[in-house]
Structure formats: C-alpha cells, structure tokens
Amino acid sequence: MTAQLRVCLLATALFLTTLLPAGARALEIQSVTSPGGITGWLVEDHDNPILTMTFSFNGGEAAEPVGKEGLARLLSATLDEGAGDMDSTAFQKALADDSISISFNSGLDRFSGKLVTLTETRERAVDLLHTALTAPRFDEEPVGRMKASIQASLRRSLADPRSKASRAWWAANFPDHAYGRSHDGTLESVAGLGPDDLLAFKTRIMSRDGLLVTAVGDIDPATFGTLIDRVFGDLPETGDVTPVPSAKPAIPGETLVIAEQIPQSIVAFGQHGMSRDDPDYYAASLLNEVLAGGFGSRLTEEIREKRGLVYGVYAYLLPLDHAPLIRGGLATQNARVAESIALVRQEWQRLSEAGPTEAEVSDARAHLLGTFALGLTDSDGVARILLSMRESDLGIDYLDRRDALYDAVTLDDLKRVAAELYDADALSVVVVGQPKGVEGTVTLPGG
C-alpha cells in the first residue's frame, strides 16, 4: 500500500448556510480515493464513537435470472450467515458480541449494504464485512434456514391485501419485464434456490466497477481510504450484470380487480414517470408535492380532509433505472372505492390541465427545501442521502446547487411539465377487495 493517499476536499456543501442560521455546522462531503483507486464519500463526525458505512452494487432483483426470483433477497439474508473459517453460529456471535451490525438489502436496480460499528470494534467490523463480501460460505444449514424464513414471510405477504395489490400492479404492468416478476420471489422459485445460485449471483453483481461507497462518522479520510481497500479491494474489477431493457407500464388506463373478502379495498395505481436525470425532474418533484405532499396537498385535502374517505392517500415519483414511474395508493371501504378512484383521476386531470397555483408552488418549494435538514439528525439519514446522491449521479456539489435547481423552476415550466407528465387516462388501477361499482377491464396474465 502506497502512502500516496489522495484526499480531495472537493466540496463544502453550502445548503445549510443559505437555509440555516450562521454558526450551524455545514455538512462537508469529502471525496476520498483509496490507495487501490476506489472512491468513497465521507462526512466526518466525531461527536460519537460510531461509524456508519453504506454501499451499493449495480444489479438488484431485476438482474435475477428468470426462474430464480427471490435470489437477491436470499443473498441479502445469507451473506452474514457464515464466511471464511467462521460458520453461521460463529459469525453471528462475533457480530453480536461486539455490537456490530452488518445488513444487506436488495432493491430492484441495486443491492446495498450497511455497516454500523463503534470505533472500538471497527477493526473487527472491517474484517467481518470483508470476509462476508469476499468469502461467504453459503452453508446448507443457514441457506435452508433463510429460505424457510423468506417463505414464511412470503406466505404472510401473499395473503396480505396490500401486498397483493402491489404485486398485481407490477405483474400486470410489466408482464414481460424483470420489474414485473415477483420481487421477493414465489414459494416455488425460492424453494429451488441453492448455494450455487447464490455464489454465481454474488460474483456477477459484487464488483468494483458497480460499487458506490459512502460513510458518516468517527473516522478521518486517510483511515477511511485504507478501510475501503480492506473491505472492497479484493472484489473483482468487473461484474456481469444482465442488461435490463427500458419499459413502460403495459396497461395504461386499465383497471384490474382482484376479489378478496375484506371490509376495506386496497387500491394501487400508477403511470409512467420522469427519469431522475431529466432536467424537468425538479419540476415533477414540486408537482408531486402539490398533488400528494401530505396535509395541504390536493389528494389529501379532497379525499381525506373534505370527505373522510381514507386514512391515507399517497403518490410518489419512483425513478427506476429502466422505467420511471409515478405510483400511488389508498384504502377505503368497499362502498366508496369508485368515488375515491374518480377523485384521484379528477385531481390528476386538474393538475394536468391547469397546473399548480403560485401559492401551492411556493408552499411546496419551501417544504421540500426546508425539511432537508431534518434528514440529517442521525448518521443513518446522512448516509442515506449520500448514497442516493451517488446512485443518482448528482455530483458532490449537488447540495450546493439544490436550492438553485428548485428555484429555477418557473410556473410556466410547472404547467408544461404537469400537462406532459400527468395523464389521468394513463393511470392503471389495481383493486383488491369487494369494490362496489368498479368493473375490471383486464385480468392478470396467467391468473
């Protein structure tokens, strides 16, 4: 290892200085390039003797081979179940004895992980994470145990109406696409998974070329640089992630009803959305705030506050890599489903036709920008923001530019984007329950 550690202080985020009173500590993001050439972003914070490191790899559930659905989730459950010369019991005991937390999570596009450790146990934590990533054992016993655990949770979610609605929405809208396959697998697909599948999938997605690393906490840049190499340096240079084609929701405007004997219907809806790298994304984000940003937003006011139809109604932008979406949902008693869906379509239409008002935009902007600091009150929040900045390729100076990006959006922009993006006729709706007066226009493929 050379002593030529390159530490670049590329940016000092200024967003706090514009929004927050003088004297507040700014969030300084440092870009640290390890001796081995891996770049990590770091926010140093020595208030508490804790390090939180988050990282992700290119390739998630969408990269699972056909018929191997649930593999990414099984991988997330088995990486810390024995590695190197430690079996599952020894590995779990090592983590517990030193209060080290290693966790993994599979998303549609990426596979992420998180390490949380006290400074006093950091060396041990680094060794354990390195071993888990480079020499997982996938022994038969823990793999079987984790399969059983995932199948039990599948049995719960397959019977749960909310989860049913979500699965059906994806399956109906992405019938021939990786996004449409059951995201956590099926009882059958999980039953067929084995150690060989895990090793093959891990080898394909866990490589340095698809890796993004960020950290927050009690560590200096030089130590962080060497830590990055110790954890990730032995991973292969390149991976082999199957490319995923772009797609759009397949049943725009259609309604799918799944009969279920429950007193309250679950409604899931959605349409195509806006890519994260689209220059109009900031406009879309403001529009979504106007439409569905909680109390004061149009959907909540019309559907919950004025009429008492729901406990919650929501919609959000989901800019997936290969299919940007707007998704939403609500739940209401069977007798009032038709009315609730009509109101969603009406608000969709109204936004599309007339755009937002100036007052709404001003409120939305103030809220979006003002609440940002609330996400920084713990290491986990800061680490999440850092990783998502990297995953969306926003640049290390994004927080300096964020206010200006939103401020630059004009009312005309918003009207244009509202008209282009929000399309009441494109909304596809899935209802699970016994909705009165709602007829399905399509059925689920194969069901």
Binding site: D47, T89, E141, D160, G370, F372
Partner: protein, 453 residues
C-alpha cells in the same frame, strides 16, 4: 405499546408484525444529561441539548391515553388526537399544518394506552412559533360538526386498515382482552368499531376539557436549543395557561385481579397462510408491580429472545429447525401491568402443539437452571453499547424521555438505565423469571389458517 399516528405513511411493502410486538428497548446512559424544570403552572419541561444539526424536536406529551377513556367511549383519546388538527379560535383547520410545512417542518401526533403526544420537528429558529401554536390548541380547540363527522370516517378507515383487514391484528385485540381481566389495557387503543361510530363532538370536548392542561403535560425539546431559551419561550406561551384540576387517573383505572387460570385464544382465518404463536405473561413495569425486577426482565428478554444468538433462536430455529423465527419482548414502559412476551413462527409442516412443547421445554430449562454468568455479561455489554448508539440520533431523546415520563417512569429510569442493567446478576434474572413466567398469568395466542372448505 401500540401507537396510532394521525398521518398514514405510504405502504410500499406490508410487514407482518407479531401481535403486540414492541421493538427496541430504552437505550440510554447518563449521557443525555437533560435539564428539567417545572413552570409555575405545573407543566414539566425536559430539554436535551444537542447542536449537531440546527433543528429541534418540539413535543408535548399529555398524561392521558386510551386507558383513561370513559366506559363506552373507547377510541375517544385517539379521535381527539385527530381533531386537534381541526383549528382553534384563531387558526383555521389545516392552517397549522400549512404553516409548519412552509417553515420546513414536519408534524405528527400519536396515541397510546398511557399518553397522547404531538410533535413538530423544525429548523431551530421556529421553536417559539411551535410553542405558540401548541399552547393555543391546548386550550382553544374549536370544532365544527362537519369536520368532526368526516374525521370520524377517517378514523373508521384507519381501523379497517390496521385491524379489520389484518387477521393478526384482530387476534391481537382478542389476546389483549384475554390478557387483562379488568385493567383498561384490555380495550384497543383505536377503540371498538361500534363505540367509535357513536363518538360525538361533545365526547371529544369533554375528554379535552378533563385532561388537556399544562399541569397534565410534559414539554420535551431535543436538539439545538438551550434550556434558557426553552424556559423563556415556554413561560411566554404554555406559562400563560392556568393549571386545572386533573382527575387521579391511576385511581380511575382500577387494578387487575389475581389471575388464576391460563388463557388461550385461537383464531382460524381463511386469510392466513402462515400460522404463528405467541404468549404474554403479566409483568411489572414503571407503574405497576415490583419495579426493581424490571432491569432483570430486560436482561432476560435479551438472553431468551434478543436476536439470532438468543436461546430461543438457537434452539428452535437453528438446532431443532421447528421454527423460522423465535424471540421475546419486554418493556417496562407503562403505568399499568406490562407483558413479557415470547413468540415463534412454526416451520412448514410443524404442528403448533409441538412447537409449543419445545418452547415450554426451553422455558422449563431456564427456570430450573437459570442463566449463566457469561450470558448475562454478554447481554449487559450489548445493551449498554446500545445506549451509545442511541446518542447518534439528535431527536431520539425527546421520544425516549417523553414516553418514559408519560408512562410512569422518571428521568433516572433513563439516565441510570445502563448502571441498573450492569448490576443485574444471573440470580436476579432467575428470580425475576420465576416470579413472572408462571402459567396462571399467561395468555397464549395462536393464529392458524383455515383450510378452504
């Protein structure tokens, strides 16, 4: 403790929760070092200063919850919590939410058996404004019949979402009613459906006027504010509100008679594909029974069922492979009788009766031989380290102190927690286990799938 929030969160994926399972334990140490004082009108104030980020969490906790409702009015505490957002003499409905949104804040509220809480997380310079608005609605709530009517529908939808659509929640309500013979914890926080339907504006106002007063509230501020700033702002707002006579809620709630028989509830549902099993034992807490036992019970819960190195997980899930999950829970936070719980999810094809036998064998072993020095030492070390991690979240202490104080605990229960945990011995764990884990005080709850007929 089940919390009911005023604001629903988006449900991306449903998470199956075990009946009554509580996450987390009071993680703390003599490291929060709060400042406490009392306003002249009796309102208690707790400040946990931390200038890491220039934001504050401003919380007001009323010492009243679902367990304090008049007979036949179940759900009124939670319904009132919703109605508290419907405006005052000088504030239109929804106006407060709009103001907070514009200031870059977030707000919500929650109701449990023992308390009702309201909070705003905001940039620090807006703390005074939050206190003005919260003090205003402490005394000036103004309701309109149409708003009350539509909000009642919202609460009924909330009940359908949380309970009626979820067999495991339905069973949890039934298990609760079996766990408590007389104590009001037997009634669900959200209320029984028929009673919710009958709640009126007058019921809400009566409850409000009985319980909402500065001398029955705790102000907790965590984040970038000094105790002096908080005192000045609080005196100018909450300090202006006169104290009021508050009923003795402990006396009103009554007690719990001795339990002479084990209870068992079983539910079969066609909407269940994955069976599950749990059992709760009545246990002491901050406000009930022998409080001295609580640290030992927390250590016991960690040894018995705290994660994948615990006795239950090792034995039932790994060694015998008859369960896919297993663990235990316990929290001393509460004014009334608490529960020590254990749970397990059977592996496919395993009969509930066989699982139950294996769990009982595990308990019998522990009750006969106790726990080892090493088990206690490891659990204590891990739990104490948890209190260091708890310091990482600037706003967390507001929630921790609020719920401790509003459910019969004290500042010392938080600050001295690491020392009390460290003082627990294997003998103390065994003694507490033998007192609490007795069949007569247990309620066993079984969720089964009903085969299609």
């Amino acid at each position: 403790m089940r919390l009911f929030n005023r604001l629903a969160r988006p449900f991306l994926f449903a998470i199956a929760l075990l009946p009554g399972l509580t996450f987390g334990f009071p993680a703390s140490a003599q490291i929060f070092e709060p400042t406490t004082f009392t306003l002249d009108n009796g309102m208690q104030v707790v400040v946990i200063e931390n200038d890491r980020v220039p934001v504050v969490s401003h919380m007001v906790w009323y010492k009243v919850g679902a367990a304090d409702e008049p007979k036949g009015k179940s759900g009124i505490a939670h319904f009132l919590e919703h109605l508290m957002f419907k405006g005052t003499a000088t504030m239109a409905p929804g106006e407060q939410s709009r103001i907070i949104n514009r200031l870059g804040g977030r707000e919500n509220a929650f109701t449990s058996n023992d308390y009702t809480g309201y909070f705003q997380n905001v940039p620090k310079q807006h703390l005074g404004r939050m206190m003005q608005m919260e003090a205003d609605r402490m005394v000036n709530l103004t309701l309109r019949p149409d708003h009350v009517k539509s909000e009642l529908q919202v609460v009924l939808e909330e009940r359908r979402s949380r309970v009626d659509n979820e067999p495991s929640s339905q069973l949890s309500e039934i298990a609760n009613a079996a766990t408590y013979l007389a104590y009001p914890y037997r009634i669900p926080v959200i209320g029984w459906e028929a009673e919710i339907q009958g709640l009126t504006q007058q019921d809400a106002i009566d409850f409000y006027k009985t319980w909402y007063a500065p001398n029955n509230a705790i102000l907790v501020v965590a984040g970038d504010a000094t105790p002096d700033e908080v005192r000045t702002l609080a005196e100018d707002t909450y300090g202006e509100i006169p104290a009021r006579d508050i009923p003795d809620r402990v006396a009103l709630r009554g007690g719990e008679p001795p339990h002479l028989a084990m209870a068992r509830v079983t539910m079969e549902s066609a909407r269940v594909d994955q069976p599950s099993w749990s059992r709760r034992y009545l246990a002491p807490g901050f406000g009930w029974g022998d409080k001295q036992q609580t640290p030992a019970l927390e250590v016991l819960a960690e040894i018995l069922g705290g994660g994948s190195t615990s006795r239950m997980y090792r034995s039932l899930v790994v060694d015998q492979a008859i369960a896919v999950s297993a663990g235990s829970w316990y929290s001393p936070e509460g004014l009334g009788p608490q529960t020590f719980g254990i749970y397990a999810t059977p592996a496919q094809g395993v009969e509930i009766a066989d699982l139950e036998k294996a769990i009982e064998a595990e308990l019998a072993l522990m009750l006969r031989d106790g726990v080892t020095e090493e088990e206690v030492a490891t659990a204590v070390k891990r739990m104490r380290r948890g209190s260091i991690f708890a310091r990482d979240d600037v706003l967390y202490p507001a929630r921790l102190f609020g719920r401790t104080l509003a459910s019969g605990g004290t500042i010392a229960d938080v600050e001295e927690w690491p020392d009390r945990i460290a003082a627990v011995t294997p003998e103390a764990v065994l003694e507490a286990a033998r007192i609490v884990l007795i069949p007569e005080s247990a309620t066993t709850s079984v969720l089964l799938s009903k085969p299609a007929s």
